[in-house]
Symmetry: C2
Subunit: 220 residues, 2 copies
């Protein structure tokens, strides 16, 4: 495999199975863009916590948001070291040996510190990007935040200068003697499917499903 560019810091160098490491910002960005959420790791009172949260990538910034009452956001905005990890699972890899069973996946680890976005316009732009991340076109299909709602939302941003991706793809890799065994081997592909929209029970039945919602529905 090619060198996959170089890690931006030794802390994000993929040391185990280095051929799976990727440092190209385009590869890292594409995984973050496809992932529905990140798992944020941080420490509080001597305990590490890992909390799932929505995110959006804008350029080389990773944006998070939530309630000002959130312990995670209150902790992160103090500038403690944190880690955002996104994982896409692409398949279950069934080898002839139990030992070589694996998963096909694409994951990204971002290390750094977050800072709070306090500027009103920068905050609005970040929330706009978060809404568009869930469904492209949604910002025109809903009521965007009021000034009061903007104040009631904390927005954080984290620079992606220290980031790496790890990718496994393809068939199982068995030890050479095991290829003579009669066990079935291969990959069970895994896809995320978005099903038919389920209207809110309180929705006015005359309101049709808009194009931006129809476009989002697909089968893997």
């Amino acid at each position: 495999m090619a060198t996959n560019q170089e890690p931006s810091s030794p802390r994000v160098n993929v040391r185990r199975l280095p051929a799976r490491g990727h440092y190209d910002p385009a590869v890292i960005g594409a995984i973050l863009d496809e992932a529905l959420l990140v798992h944020m790791g941080f420490e509080a009172h001597g305990q590490v916590y890992v909390i799932p949260t929505l995110h959006v990538r804008v350029g080389d910034q990773l944006i998070l948001h939530g309630s000002p009452a959130s312990r995670m956001l209150k902790t992160l905005k103090e500038g403690v070291p944190c880690c955002a990890t996104a994982t896409l699972v692409d398949g279950i890899v069934l080898a002839r040996s139990a030992f070589n069973h694996s998963m096909n996946y694409r994951s990204v680890v971002v290390l750094g510190v977050a800072r709070e976005v306090v500027d009103r316009d920068e905050k609005y732009t970040a929330l706009h990007a978060l809404v568009e991340k869930t469904v492209v076109g949604r910002s025109d299909g809903c009521r965007m935040p009021s000034e009061e709602e903007l104040r009631r939302t904390t927005v954080l941003t984290m620079s992606m200068t220290e980031a790496s991706a790890k990718i496994r793809s393809g068939p199982p890799g068995d030890d050479e003697p095991d290829y003579a065994l009669s066990h079935w081997a291969g990959v069970l592909p895994i896809r995320t499917e978005i099903g038919a929209p389920e209207p809110d029970p309180r929705l006015d039945p005359s309101i049709e499903i808009p194009a931006h919602v129809r476009r989002k529905t697909h089968r893997g």
Copy 2:
């Protein structure tokens, strides 16, 4: 909503939106059993890392495994405080207001410390459970670990005494005045689909897809 039992410790009490908190071991166990992986959080050299890894729940134990060379396993087996989080995403919740957009999800957070499993038979049993977790029946459909492979695998176990689940389900919850708006609102359901098995290119074509693999393939 009911009280969802009581948290086993204040550290796993769901404080934000407490109605979403669940402490019933059966609820927690079902989420871990359905999740394909957990995100493990731990600290090393002053930096928090969050790494995706396969897991299996056996009773009240969460089992992890990997290479003895893995930094994560080497760090965790020292008994440092860690956190295992599993997240299932069930839907994108589109409210009339951007502010009330959300996700439907089921997540579990387990806090504690891991210990290494060193007993040979206990290790074998743990790896058997990990293989069965990927595909039920697979342990009879592959070559199980040799003594050498057992030695080349580190197995950790983590007690689930401190754990909680957080669940959101159902339609969007808009602010009352917003129900008069003409925006479409509802849920886009998300499902994980396992597609048709992809045989290893090196598979003997006379080997048919076994029942345990066929059973795992499904839509939604």
